[in-house]
């Protein structure tokens, strides 16, 4: 490797950045976490069927992030099954997204949604087919599935909100919500075990 080899310089930076990303995962529970890391960490978890609150012990039960938003993890029992519900709220208290593995159907993974896109219903069939319905704000012009060439079909329910339904089979589809300029509005992932 020469000092002027840009390819090696970039490689070193990427590996270093990768190591830095791993460090927060080993941080003590009391540490104030960035929301972005929290969403990334939750999205990376696998929840096996039946759901046994596998994320307990990894996620803190609640706290605030440097941008003033907050999150809360609630242990709940539904249909005799222990599961967890996590809510993310803005500094003004508005619900921005939620993680919910309390669905009565086969085990589901974390579902995260940015404030402009709310997930209303989620279903996983035994063959790992997922069906998702949700609504989007006017800021979202298009919803696409990463790797797909076709956007998810949207239908108008009001001037401000539109609904979408999508069904497919496959592992870990990643939805991207885009605004009118094609810029991404906070990524989120649907995680299917």
């Amino acid at each position: 490797m020469t000092m002027d080899d840009p390819i090696e310089q970039l490689r070193a930076q990427l590996v270093s950045a990768g190591h830095r990303r791993l460090e927060p995962a080993r941080a003590p529970r009391q540490r104030v976490l960035s929301r972005k890391w929290l969403l990334t960490a939750v999205a990376a978890l696998t929840i096996a069927a039946p759901a046994t609150a596998a994320i307990t012990g990894v996620l803190p039960t609640g706290g605030t992030t440097p941008d003033g938003s907050s999150y809360r993890v609630e242990q709940v029992t539904q249909d005799g099954r222990a599961c967890e519900r996590t809510e993310f709220r803005s500094s003004a208290g508005a619900l921005e997204g939620k993680v919910d593995n309390c669905a009565p159907t086969a085990a589901t993974g974390p579902i995260l949604a940015p404030k402009d896109l709310m997930i209303d219903a989620f279903n996983v069939a035994p063959g790992k087919t997922w069906l998702i319905r949700g609504t989007i704000s006017a800021a979202v012009a298009k919803v696409v599935i990463e790797g797909s060439t076709e956007p998810v079909a949207l239908s108008a329910t009001s001037n401000e909100r539109r609904s979408f339904t999508s069904i497919s089979t496959g592992y870990r589809p990643i939805f991207r919500a885009l605004d009118q300029d094609g810029h991404e509005i906070d990524r989120f992932q649907i995680f299917v075990p």
């Binding site: 020469t2 002027d4 080899d5 840009p6 390819i7 310089q9 970039l10 490689r11 930076q13 990427l14 590996v15 270093s16 950045a17 990768g18 190591h19 830095r20 990303r21 791993l22 972005k36 990334t40 999205a43 990376a44 990463e146 790797g147 060439t149 496959g170 592992y171 870990r172 990643i174 300029d181 094609g182 990524r187 992932q189 995680f191």
Partner: protein, 184 residues
């Protein structure tokens, strides 16, 4: 780690940054070459490639080893989006790189020369340029030119008419020819 497939490397990358480094080493040259074909500039291509790999590092936690497109296809899907952003904005958007706290790697004259020598010696950049065609053209050109399938076979598989396939092959080849000519 040298013996691991691309899919295996990427599946490990979220917990093993060295695995990501290996994946990067395998694909960086071809990717820069492909982006250079499309943008006509080695410097722009390098900056774009940096943000593509930064975005890939951010998202590698969601990659599964049985991903339909494979690790390479997954990487080039990110590259196509970054290229679309570049054309739309008229500049390289490096949000992923900034989010990871990475400094921009500035290309010195010597570094640029070294990079171009490596790119010119690489035989894989034209094949990689194929990956950056729009989806329909890429599928049609790959099937016709690389896999030597007949037009009617391709039409059946893609669920389009034969004339559409012929158009896509023609446009795709013309686009590849033009980009290669620009660099030359």
């Amino acid at each position: 780690m040298q013996d691991l497939s691309d899919n295996e490397l990427l599946a490990r990358a979220a917990e093993d940054p060295e695995a990501f480094g290996q994946f990067y080493s395998r694909h960086i040259t071809a990717l820069i070459g492909a982006l250079r074909h499309r943008t006509g500039s080695t410097e722009i291509a390098f900056d774009l490639a940096a943000d593509v790999f930064a975005a890939a590092l951010e998202r590698c936690g969601s990659f599964h080893s049985d991903h339909e497109a494979g690790a390479r296809g997954w990487l080039y899907a990110i590259a196509r989006n970054k290229l679309a952003d570049f054309y739309r904005a008229g500049a390289v958007e490096d949000r992923a790189r900034q989010r990871l706290g990475m400094e921009r790697v500035a290309l010195s004259d010597r570094g640029l020369e070294e990079l171009e020598t490596r790119l010119d010696a690489s035989a894989s950049d034209v094949i990689a340029a194929l990956e950056l065609l729009p989806d329909g053209e890429r599928q049609a050109v790959s099937a016709r030119v690389v896999d030597e399938q007949d037009y009617d076979q391709i039409a059946n598989r893609l669920s389009v008419s034969e004339s559409v396939v012929r158009q896509r092959v023609s446009r795709g080849l013309r686009r590849l020819r033009n980009t290669v000519k620009e660099v030359a």
